[in-house]
């Protein structure tokens, strides 16, 4: 995503029944993938699979009901995310963790600094432990 840097805090919402629109920035996770991906919705297709199909729709392989199929793409990529979907043809509602609503830059850096530099984490813990011992309230 352009201009989203490590350490930015994203506020997500994911109310049930929420429709996703093209242009929404979604965070989704493909089953089997470790990390969620923050990309923008490129296409939405609202399909309804009728209940009287004996088997899932032959082409789409989805259970009966309403489905909002989505295709995403990173803004800086030239092509859509189909190669990231690990065999899925479309994203379904259940793959989406949420839609980005708002944004706080750089807030996450403290946590990232701790994870990237474990010495920092231990030094901080040692410092706090020392303070706890010598402090007398």
């Amino acid at each position: 995503m352009p201009r989203f840097y490590r350490g930015d805090l994203l506020f997500l919402t994911n109310p049930p029944g929420q429709r996703y629109h093209t242009g929404d920035i979604t965070v989704y996770r493909i089953p089997g993938a470790e990390i969620p991906i923050v990309h923008r919705v490129l296409e939405t297709r609202d399909v309804f699979i009728p209940f009287d199909y004996g088997e899932p729709h032959p082409k789409l392989k989805l259970p009966p009901g309403e489905h909002q199929l989505m295709l995403t793409k990173g803004d800086n990529n030239h092509v859509d995310d189909i190669d990231l979907y690990r065999g899925l043809e479309w994203l379904d509602r259940r793959h989406i963790i949420g839609k980005v609503r708002g944004f706080l830059p750089y807030i996450g850096y403290v946590t990232i600094a701790m994870n990237d530099f474990p010495q920092l984490k231990y030094a901080l813990l040692r410092g706090l432990g020392l303070l706890a011992v010598i402090q007398r309230e």
């Binding site: 201009r3 093209t22 242009g23 920035i25 803004d75 859509d80 609503r101 944004f103 706080l104």
Partner: protein, 178 residues
């Protein structure tokens, strides 16, 4: 309240409160700018060809190619809290099976106010295709230009800048000249 620890604690508490209030104020200031942007959008040509896509290299499908004439002035959307604009042109249509589709066919990132006026006649960036693989039973499509304002701090906002006057029918598919 005179130890170094207590002073450091007090200063850092005050500092983080100030930063949070400042960020909150910047985020809220975006709501003061109720800018809207208008433009005009025409479809110059819409052609449908038998073709194959990268996604399904072995299927014969009908692909739509759109050429559009777009002019929009998006400068009112730039304020001090605007990091960038994401502008996208999308096609909205319903096919014969009742499936509603919205497909983005062109997009652009606008980072500066100077680049915010768009006056182009251009082809699509992303091919238009239908789930069923054919446009023969598809209802006419509306095209609209939408934008998303990405702030430095705060809430993402969306809007629509232009729309085609009437829905445009898909022509019959032809074979591309080879």
């Amino acid at each position: 309240m005179h130890s170094i620890y207590a002073r450091a604690n007090g200063i850092s508490g005050l500092w983080s409160t100030c930063v949070m209030v400042l960020l909150g104020a910047v985020a809220l200031s975006s709501f003061l700018f109720n800018a809207e942007s208008k433009g005009s959008l025409d479809i110059v040509s819409l052609k449908v060809f038998h073709s194959k896509t990268r996604r399904y290299p072995f299927r014969n499908e009908e692909i739509g190619f759109v050429k559009f004439n777009l002019s929009a002035d998006l400068t009112p959307l730039f304020n001090w809290n605007t990091k960038q604009l994401f502008v996208y042109l999308e096609a909205e249509y319903t096919n014969a099976q009742g499936v509603n589709n919205t497909v983005v066919i062109w997009d652009r990132i606008v980072r500066r106010k100077d680049d915010a006026t768009i006056d182009i006649i251009q082809k699509e960036k992303y091919k238009l295709r239908d789930l069923s693989g054919s446009f023969s039973n598809v209802l006419p499509a509306q095209y609209s230009l939408k934008y998303s304002v990405m702030p430095y701090v705060g809430v993402l906002t969306y809007g629509e800048a232009a729309r085609t006057m009437k829905a445009i029918d898909f022509p019959d598919a032809r074979d591309s000249v080879s």
